[in-house]
């Protein structure tokens, strides 16, 4: 292992995180542009980007607020989108649970999909790493991701105002969500869950306060978990 120098874990994290530049830059641009189109000014857009740093939930909130969904539903749905991070948080405990509290406070703020994916994979494959090295790797992987997320949200917000309506940017939100979800169809239960989600939402569109979406999501989760359980039993 090349962990002899104190900073090598940091730079190895940096290298592991850098491919995500190609994902983060366009998403950030798109978020900035869509937020501007939805009527947010620069301060509002950047506040959201800094406070939430979770693209999918930010798109969700903007989209539902544009439909004038009740505040409670906007929050509930956007937070549901972020619930996956509770899994990240739980999965990191065995590796980072013994890091100092103020470090964990910082790590939690920066816990984005890409950092989790890269760090967790590394920790599992290199159990000999010390907690300090794991912490450095984590922050190294953030360096090519987080600053670009802030910067390009800003660029998108400024540039978004100049994009004319002929470019149908309204449809960038659904397209982005499809792009985020399609690669997640990696198993039958995932696919079934998505199918139930679509079917139930369309069937429950008459339910007031956008509650149909929440009901559909619960049904879809139950369907996904149920199919997974059934497949496991059949294999056993």
């Amino acid at each position: 292992m090349s962990q002899s120098k104190p900073n090598s874990a940091f730079w190895s994290g940096f290298r592991a995180g850098s491919p995500f530049i190609l994902v983060v830059v366009p998403f950030a641009l798109l978020f900035g542009a869509i937020a501007t189109k939805a009527g947010l000014n620069i301060v509002e857009t950047m506040s959201m980007t800094f406070l939430v740093i979770a693209g999918a939930a930010q798109f969700t909130a903007i989209s539902l607020m544009q439909e004038h969904a009740p505040t409670f539903i906007v929050l509930l749905t956007a937070l549901a989108v972020n619930l996956r991070m509770a899994m990240y948080s739980a999965a990191l405990v065995p590796h980072l649970g013994r890091a100092p509290l103020f470090i964990r406070v910082l790590m939690a703020y920066f816990m984005v999909d890409q950092a989790f994916a890269v760090a967790f994979q590394k920790y599992e494959s290199a159990p000999e790493m010390t907690v300090a090295q794991k912490v450095r790797f984590y922050f190294g992987s953030l360096l090519p991701i987080i600053p670009l997320w802030y910067i390009f949200s800003y660029v998108g917000a400024v540039a978004g105002a100049m994009i004319p309506p002929e470019y149908s940017l309204d449809f960038a939100i659904p397209i982005t969500f499809i792009a985020l979800t399609a690669p997640a169809m990696r198993s039958l239960p995932h696919f079934i869950a998505a199918l139930v989600s679509v079917g139930a939402t369309l069937a429950l569109i008459w339910v007031p306060y956008n509650l149909g979406l929440i009901i559909a999501a619960l049904l879809a989760m139950i369907a996904g978990a149920g199919v997974e359980q059934k497949l496991k039993r059949r294999r056993a």
Partner: protein
């Protein structure tokens, strides 16, 4: 357009706070205790349970066409989905989907 700025700020602050608490939850507070299996099993499907439902009405009844089914938008959604499944590359899927939208809008007038 989002015109109600009070609601907007409530959402920005509470969504930020709530998201932080979700991220902090286990790593910060709960420590070594493990989640029960059945909760983890359901959490695995949260993303695919919420996001497709969120976009389905936007694809089928887009606001930009007055809520009427639009062949160009429907086609673009299919193209984005197909590229996403096939390439597992989110950026390729977005670029392909938007290109399909412009192409179909041009072809269908």
């Amino acid at each position: 357009m989002i015109t109600d700025k009070t609601t907007l700020w409530i959402v920005i602050v509470l969504l930020g706070l709530g998201t932080y608490l979700i991220r902090f939850s286990f790593l910060g507070l709960i420590g070594d205790r493990e989640l029960p299996d059945w909760i983890l099993r359901h959490l695995r499907y949260v993303a695919v349970a919420v996001l497709p439902g969120l976009i389905a009405p936007l694809v089928v009844w887009p606001q930009a066409t007055g809520g009427h089914l639009d062949p160009a938008r429907l086609g673009a959604a299919f193209v984005a989905f197909a590229i996403g499944i096939w390439s597992k590359n989110a950026v390729a899927s977005i670029v392909g989907g938007m290109a399909a939208l412009y192409g179909l809008q041009f072809l269908l007038g």
